[in-house]
């Protein structure tokens, strides 16, 4: 694998139909970066969850917007940036409820974020008011 930083970017319309394209994009880069098939699939799941959240919450399922997935690979880690221009929504404010409690309350909204946090080593959210929202996720490469 090259020792320099490489950047990949994909911009798609904000339709859930494009989640399959996004997963293929991410798992392909994961494999190229040195993750095995299982770990690449987990990275694709985390990015799917992040993009599905954007489409559902930031864009309220309107398909006329754009979701940008930017991936930066270097010898140490793979970094994902999911950028949207919709309604800012800080997933960090979601309560960490137990799954039993989520079922009782008929809420599944916290599940995706829990998967993201399980899969990734670092997750940060940044809102630039009136400009963009950015979810950054980092996964270290195993040595």
């Amino acid at each position: 694998m090259p020792s320099f930083e490489r950047t990949f970017s994909m911009k798609v319309p904000s339709s859930t139909e494009n989640l399959a394209l996004i997963r293929d994009f991410v798992s392909g880069i994961g494999a190229q970066a040195g993750f095995d098939e299982n770990d690449s699939a987990r990275l694709a799941l985390a990015v799917d969850e992040a993009c599905a959240n954007v489409i559902e919450h930031a864009y309220q399922l309107e398909e006329t917007h754009e979701v940008t997935v930017r991936v930066v690979v270097d010898p140490e880690e793979i970094k994902f940036e999911i950028v949207d221009t919709g309604r800012g929504f800080d997933p960090g404010q979601l309560n960490e409820l137990q799954v039993e409690e989520l079922i009782r309350q008929r809420k599944s909204g916290g599940l995706g974020l829990r998967l993201i946090r399980t899969i990734m080593d670092d997750v940060q959210y940044r809102i630039v008011p009136g400009e963009k929202n950015e979810l950054r996720m980092v996964k270290k490469l195993k040595k």
């Binding site: 399959a20 997963r23 599905a52 039993e100 079922i103 599944s108 599940l111 829990r114 998967l115």
Partner: protein
Amino acid sequence: MATNFKIERRSAGGVRVLALDGYLDAHTAPLFESAIQEEAQAGNRRIAVDCTKLSYISSAGLGVFMSFIEELREAGGDIKLASIAPKVYQVFDVLGFPALFDMLETVEEAVAKFAEGPREG
């Protein structure tokens, strides 16, 4: 609308078997939700979900299981899962689903499990 997901339904031993095939994500979860809704409305409260051909699940798919389970159990039914591939099982496992749902090796075992009566716990 092109989808990479489909559901086949059949009956076995008084249980409705929904066989999922493909990718269950935020795009395809509404199809699964409609299928379970139709079964529930038709009075079919014993549902076994055959995951043999399920290649992928995200939280949107998991949410469908969550949104119906309480209603079905209160009506004396249940959703049991069967034949889940290891990489799909991982996702259920991370979120603690095995403690909340019966997950069986085969569809036949899932159907038979219904005969044992209500789930404990």
